[in-house]
Amino acid sequence: MRRTARGIVAFLLLVGLSAAAASARCSVRIGARVALYGSTGDPDVLVWETRFRLAAYQRGSFDVDRTLLSHAHLAAPGTRAVVLRCVSRDVHPKYRGTVGDAIYIRLLGGPYRRQTGWIMGSDLRTMIGFR
């Protein structure tokens, strides 16, 4: 029993450390209040169900994107959200030289309020006073 408890503690420590390491160089801190704003020509933001779909969308071909779209919500620019998690340098856009952060958020407004999802680190603006 004690051995199981120690194992759980070690596992939690490991997860915590890796999460801390992952978020160590993130552009936003966990808990930050943000507003969504697309970094491309279209300011809408796609909020993905999973981090892997976000990554697949960014690195995939356009045909792949089309099959993925049913797994995303389209949030209007300015939709508020709170950062729940950040994975640094996790997304490799096909046509960009830079590597982006994957940000897990909970939407605080709009038709998809209270829903969670993953967005690119470049698709948000930190709200002044909530950094």
Binding site: G38, T40, G41, F62, D65, Y95, G97
Partner: protein, 457 residues
């Protein structure tokens, strides 16, 4: 002696160094023109790359315009936005062609694939998103919005990538040009340094040449003063002489004359012309003068004198390019008989009261072959003038390059004063005037006039 005299060698050296100097300067100047052309070409390429970057930005704007016009139409149903949408589509296609051409011209081939993707995706957006929305603006499902967003993301990514490639090309161009310019500047600097070194070398060379020339002039001046021919008075005769140097000659040439009393009644008369100029020729004239005098003291026949001198000349001078034309005469002042032999020396004349005649050549020039030289006897009469000249008289040219020849020389002699010295001075003056005070060759003149019964010896 070898074929090239020191003067010729100096001239060759000066010409070669001057050519190298000018070539070096030419290369250095040409280098700066090349450098300028390279910089201009680079600026031109840089400008075109910037134009390509602007065109890519315009592509993105055109893409956004299309999306906005579709949105505007779905909201307002105003056909104006449809027209604007179609115009934006046409503009987009034209811009894609422009960018493709620029990318090809600038050799940014990796970007061509991205551009094709971009055009394909935009076309797909028009078919998959814009066309359904424009056909049924009331029924545009949310799925189309997502798809539109997806297209937009994708196109923006491609456009960003294209821009990065063009920027990278621009940077590379700048780096390459800088490296090329550095190389050009290095090469040009080397040429300039070489030019400077050569200029220094040239200066040293010309200083040396000038010094040598000064030394040579001094040597020749000494030789001239030592070997200069001075006429001696002869009984029953009046003698005149003159010597004029050519303008371009560095110093004394190979012309020599001599009047030398062999006995009380006999005198040696000599005129000779050595091929060549300078110290060698000056020394040779001295050799001729004193050798012929020596021979003449032993032999009285001018033909024999020339033959013996020819042998001595061949044994002494080993330069095959050097030869001498010479007239040797022995004048008996009692009988007034002139015995002479002429080794290829055709500038010898006899002026009588009835005209001027040329003294015939009796053998080849000296230093070429061993040939006998015939002796000719001429009975002189009071008033006759023997005029011995070098080829500076018969080969005198006017400004148009026309030679005087023997006929012209004889006309000048016939018209000249009969007093020997005045005649010589007058002939020199005429030759100078012919070439407008410029003489192409040295000219030596010796004139001997037989005095009449009433004249003083």
């Amino acid at each position: 002696m070898n074929g090239a005299t020191p003067a010729v060698r100096r001239l060759r050296g000066t010409v070669v160094i001057t050519i190298v100097l000018l070539a070096t300067l030419g290369f250095a100047i040409e280098g700066s023109f090349v450098e300028r052309a390279e910089v201009t070409a680079t600026f031109d390429r840089e400008t075109r790359i910037q134009e390509a970057q602007i065109a890519i930005q315009q592509l993105l704007r055109s893409q956004t315009d299309q999306e906005n016009y579709v949105r505007a139409y779905t909201i307002t149903r105003d056909v104006f936005y449809l027209q604007m949408y179609r115009s934006a589509v046409a503009s987009f296609e034209a811009k894609v062609s422009d960018v493709r051409r620029e990318l090809k011209d600038q050799g940014i081939d990796p970007a061509l694939g991205g551009l094709d993707d971009y055009a394909r995706v935009q076309q797909s957006w028009r078919q998959q998103v814009a066309a359904p929305v424009l056909a049924h603006p009331d029924q545009a499902p949310a799925e189309l919005d997502k798809r539109s967003k997806s297209y937009s993301d994708y196109e923006t990514s491609i456009a960003t990538d294209l821009g990065d490639l063009v920027k990278a090309k621009s940077r590379q161009l700048g780096t390459d040009t800088l490296a090329q310019l550095r190389n050009t500047i290095l090469v040009r600097s080397i040429w300039l340094v070489l030019f400077g070194l050569l200029a220094v070398g040239y200066s040293i060379f010309t200083s040396r040449v000038r010094k040598e020339l000064d030394e040579e002039r001094a040597t020749i001046a000494i030789l001239q003063s030592a070997y200069v021919s001075r006429v001696v008075p002869l009984p029953r005769c009046e003698v005149g002489s003159a010597y004029a140097s050519a303008d371009r000659a560095l110093a004394v040439g190979g012309d020599v004359f001599d009047v030398y009393r062999l006995t009380d009644d006999q005198a040696l008369v000599l005129i000779a012309d050595v091929s060549g100029k300078g110290v060698d020729a000056a020394v040779l004239t001295a050799f001729i003068k004193f050798t012929v005098r020596g021979i003449a003291l032993r032999r009285s026949d001018p033909g024999e004198i020339l033959a013996e001198f020819n042998t001595a000349f061949a044994q002494t001078v080993d330069n095959p390019y050097l030869f001498v034309s010479m007239l040797v005469g022995v004048l008996d002042t009692q009988t007034l008989v002139l015995d002479y032999a002429s080794a290829g020396h055709d500038s010898a004349f006899l002026r009588r009261c009835d005209g001027v005649e040329q003294l015939a050549v009796t053998g080849p020039v000296l230093g070429v072959m061993e040939e006998p030289f015939a002796t000719v006897s001429v009975q002189l009469l009071p008033g006759d003038v023997v005029v011995l000249a070098t080829d500076g008289l018969t080969e005198a040219r006017d400004r148009q390059g026309r030679q005087l020849h023997e006929r012209g020389a004889m006309e000048l002699i016939e018209r000249a004063d009969s007093q020997p010295q005045r005649m010589c001075d007058e002939l020199i003056g005429r030759v100078r005037a012919l070439g407008r005070n410029r003489m192409r060759d040295d000219l030596a003149l010796l004139a001997i006039r037989v005095l009449g019964e009433s004249s003083d010896a």
